[in-house]
Symmetry: C3
Subunit: 139 residues, 3 copies
Amino acid sequence: MNYRAVETTGEYVARLETGADWRAQIESLADAVEADAAWFTALGAVQDAELWFYDQDACEYEPVAFDDPLEVASCVGNVSWLDDERFAHTHAVLSDDDGTAYAGHLNEATVWAGEVYLRTFEAPLEREYDESTDLNLWL
Amino acid sequence: MNYRAVETTGEYVARLETGADWRAQIESLADAVEADAAWFTALGAVQDAELWFYDQDACEYEPVAFDDPLEVASCVGNVSWLDDERFAHTHAVLSDDDGTAYAGHLNEATVWAGEVYLRTFEAPLEREYDESTDLNLWL
Amino acid sequence: MNYRAVETTGEYVARLETGADWRAQIESLADAVEADAAWFTALGAVQDAELWFYDQDACEYEPVAFDDPLEVASCVGNVSWLDDERFAHTHAVLSDDDGTAYAGHLNEATVWAGEVYLRTFEAPLEREYDESTDLNLWL
C-alpha cells in the first residue's frame, strides 16, 4: 500500500450554487483556494445526476442517468491534479422519494442545494496512468 | 459559490446512547461542547428511522418511515444555528438484512449503536431563509 | 452520551493495493503509522464484497455476499484496539452497474482501487463488551 503523511493548509465550508454542476462547483472551490490536494465530504440535493460505474473487465466507465430530483445522502471525494487541471474525484449516494438509494462515481449533477467541507493539503496529489486498473491514480 | 475558511476549535469522538434519538444525540453533543458550527461523519445501527425527501416542486419534505432495524452505513452532516437552536443537518444511508440501501435526510432514528467524529469551527454557521429553494441555508 | 475531545497526531492519504483486502489494508495502514485510534473516510471500487447486517434480536451478524465488481460510493469508519489488535470498524455503501446501492458493515472486499483519508488521535480507543447490544464498543 502507498501512503503519505499530509499537512493540512486550510479548511473550508462551502454552499454550492443552485443550478450549477455539483462536481464543477467543488473544482471551482479547489481553484479558488488554490488546492494542490484536498479531501471533502458533502451532502445536499440535486435536480438530476449522472453516475458512472467502472466496468473492471472492459476497463471503461458506463454512465447511468437520473432525470429526477434526488437527495445527496453522502458525498466523499478528493481533489488532485489530472492533465494539468484540478479534478474532484467524487463518489455519491443519492436517493429518491421512496428512500431508495443509488450510488457510484458522480460525473455530473445539477445542484439544488449542497454543503461541502473541504480540507487542503500541502503536498500535491497528481494522478498518473495505472496499468493494472486502466485508471488514473495518485501515489 | 459561497465559501469560508474555517478554524477548527475542537475535535471529538462520541458514542451515541442506545435507545436515544440519533439526531438529538448529535445536537446534545454539539450543546455539550458549545459548538457554533461543526462538521461530522458517523456510522452505526438504528432500531427504526424516518428519512425525509425534499420535493423540489412542492418545496416541502416528504417523510419515509422504517420500522425495522437498519445499519447506518454512512452519516454525514453539520451543525449550525437555526431559530436560536443548534441544528444537526444529518444525511444518512441505511441498510437492511439483504444489504439493500435506503437514504436521505435523517429526521429521527432510535440509536442501537452509533460512533461519531465531530469537529467544531470558530465562526458560527447560521441558517437563513433562501427564496430559490425554500430551505434554510447557511453562508 | 459518552464523548471525548481528541488530539490529532497525524493525517494520511493512502491508495489501497489492487487485489488486497479493503479492511486489512486499512488495518495495515493503521499498523504502519502506529495508530492507537483513528477516523477515516474512503472511496473506490472492489471486485467482490461481504457486508454484515447486525440482527438486533439474535445479537449476531448475518453476512451478505456479493461476487461481482462494485463501486465503493462511501466508506466511513474508525480504528480502535480490539483483543490486542488494531480493528478498522468499516461501514460502506457499494453500487452495481445499474447504480443500485447496497450497504452495511464491511467485513471483507477485494480492492480494485481505493483512496483513503485517515487521521490518527493521541488517546487510544479500546473496544470492550457492551451488554445491552452484545457488541464491542469504545468509550
